[in-house]
């Protein structure tokens, strides 16, 4: 793995990071995409998709008001890069233990990115104070400059953060991992088996209603039995989603409207 690839991942990862809150919020920064991007650059997209999918549902809470959550995009990206480095260096160790160890590092970095966002928002206040009087005098170019400086502050800081972690953190993490006893490695494997369930529980708590919980239980049971015998074709699943979406829109908007009329 070359340094050029690490630099490229850092620049692209920081670009995706902007989409999480600062520009657009288009969902291009969803963990499965950032994980896959890192995996694709490092030549193992499957691992990136695998890690990204697990992270996708766990750290789902958005930044509302002054609340700054950890960056799920950074968690998936860092975990993938770390995992692929470990895979290259350690062939005999269980892959699930490696992925869990790297996920822990990724989660720590994701929380650190959240903390850096708080610093960034404080820095924005300072930038605004410096230029506000000029804007109030009608020099609107300073409005553009505030936006530009805020963009650069966030982007450059994230690039540096990623680069520092990859260059300094990877060798250190590999050394630490090499010293771990068998029990901890098995414990990590066990944790990796449970962790995806956190994502399901988070979504369940977000969508929970009295009727919804019963419906969830029935669907889970029926489809568990169906899946024992056969895997549903992807086209049927997509058609099912489209049909239910139409029913949902009809039921919540048009049916109520026609009732009123």
């Amino acid at each position: 793995m070359s340094v050029e690839k690490i630099v490229l991942i850092s620049f692209l990862g920081a670009l995706l990071e902007l989409d999480t809150f600062f520009i657009g919020m288009t969902l291009l920064s969803q963990p499965v995409i950032s994980g896959a991007l890192a995996g694709w650059i490092l030549g193992n997209i499957t691992t990136g998709i695998f890690i990204g999918t697990i992270v996708q549902l766990i750290w789902i809470y958005p930044p509302v008001g002054a609340f700054v959550p950890p960056s799920s995009s950074a968690i998936a990206l860092v975990s993938t890069v770390m995992t692929l480095f470990f895979f290259e260096m350690m062939h005999e160790v269980d892959k699930n233990s490696i992925m869990m160890f790297c996920l822990i590092i990724g989660v720590s970095f994701g929380y650190f990115v959240g903390q850096m966002d708080i610093w960034n928002r404080k820095l924005n206040t300072i930038i605004i104070h410096s230029f506000e009087s000029k804007i109030q005098q009608g020099n609107i170019i300073y409005l553009f400059l505030i936006q530009l400086f805020s963009f650069l502050a966030k982007y450059i800081r994230d690039v540096i953060g990623y680069l520092a972690l990859f260059i300094l953190g990877i060798p250190l993490a590999i050394k630490i991992f090499a010293t771990l006893p068998e029990q901890i490695l098995f414990g990590l494997k066990l944790a990796f088996w449970i962790v995806p369930v956190i994502g399901f529980a988070v979504i369940y708590c977000l969508f929970q209603t009295k009727d919804g919980s019963i419906f969830h239980g029935i669907i889970l049971f029926i489809f568990y039995i169906i899946f024992i015998f056969d895997r549903m074709d992807i086209h049927y699943f997509l058609i099912l989603i489209v049909l239910i979406s139409f029913l949902l829109i009809y039921n919540s908007i048009w049916k109520e409207r026609s009732r009123e009329n």
Binding site: I23, L27, A36, Q56, I128, G138, Q183, A201, Y224, R231
Partner: protein, 261 residues
């Protein structure tokens, strides 16, 4: 009355993507909001005129609402800036400020609940679910990312531009429209639909997953279901996701020390 050109409205809508770029703890989205329609203020007032400076001072104050629903505030502000006479600046100031404060809060509440607790988790669940149900290859990943981006971005763009045009061209009807739309019913439908999808995804995950600790598929699923219930209870008791994550890691390591001696 100077009617704004269609292109200027669309351009303001595009610039709204940068609403949170210079988010700050003091006045939150103020710079992003002013930035998104400064070109319109410039057109409504003559540049460097006293009225233009007053308008800048008005809109550099506190601003905070949901990023996609901010289009409605923007449309209303453009209309008021254009229509209210400049003969009495203090009355104009008060009218605009009162309207802005009056609509920011309700729009933020609707937007947060609709997007952050409804559409976004649903889109991410369907994206991750497609990967869990099928496999981690590139084709499925591309379909899953495309579907989740589509589910999230179609309502995002439609709501944003609909509100922008509606609030500018039919400003008086906007409040009536907000009252009429049954957000509670829409949210109920999204949650019910989400619970169904979650049931299918969990059934698929339990059946098809590659990582398992116990050789019996049924026993493995029952154990994971037990962890799911335990985590749901923890989240409902307001335990943070990060705490649950750490507890699982630490608990797994302790458990492995007990069974491996």
């Amino acid at each position: 009355m100077k009617l704004l050109r269609l292109f200027e409205l669309i351009w303001a809508g595009i610039k709204l993507n940068f609403l949170q770029l210079s988010w700050n703890f003091e006045r939150l989205q103020n710079i992003g909001f002013l930035f998104s329609f400064i070109h319109i203020l410039k057109r409504i007032y003559k540049k460097n005129g006293q009225d233009f400076l007053r308008a800048i001072k008005r809109h550099i104050n506190f601003f905070n609402t949901h990023i996609f629903f901010s289009a409605a505030v923007l449309g209303v502000m453009m209309k008021l800036e254009e229509e209210i006479s400049n003969e009495n600046p203090e009355t104009k100031e008060k009218n605009i400020e009162d309207t802005k404060i009056g609509i920011m809060g309700p729009l933020a509440a609707i937007g947060d609940s609709l997007f952050w607790s409804g559409i976004k988790p649903l889109a991410l669940l369907i994206g991750a679910g497609l990967i869990y149900l099928y496999n981690y290859d590139t084709k499925i990943f591309l379909i899953a990312s495309f579907v989740s981006i589509l589910i999230y971005n179609i309502p995002r763009v439609l709501i944003k531009y609909y509100l922008l045009f509606k609030s500018y061209f039919q400003f008086t009807e906007l409040f009536l429209l907000i009252q009429k739309i049954r957000f509670q019913d829409i949210m109920k439908s999204i949650k019910f639909f989400g619970m169904g999808i979650l049931g299918i995804v969990m059934a698929g995950y339990f059946n098809f997953k590659e990582t398992s600790v116990i050789s019996s598929r049924l026993l493995d699923s029952i154990l994971l279901l037990f962890f799911f219930i335990f985590i749901v209870r923890a989240i409902r008791s307001k335990v943070a996701v990060s705490t649950i994550f750490i507890t699982i890691v630490v608990g797994s390591v302790i458990f492995s020390y007990i069974i491996i001696r």
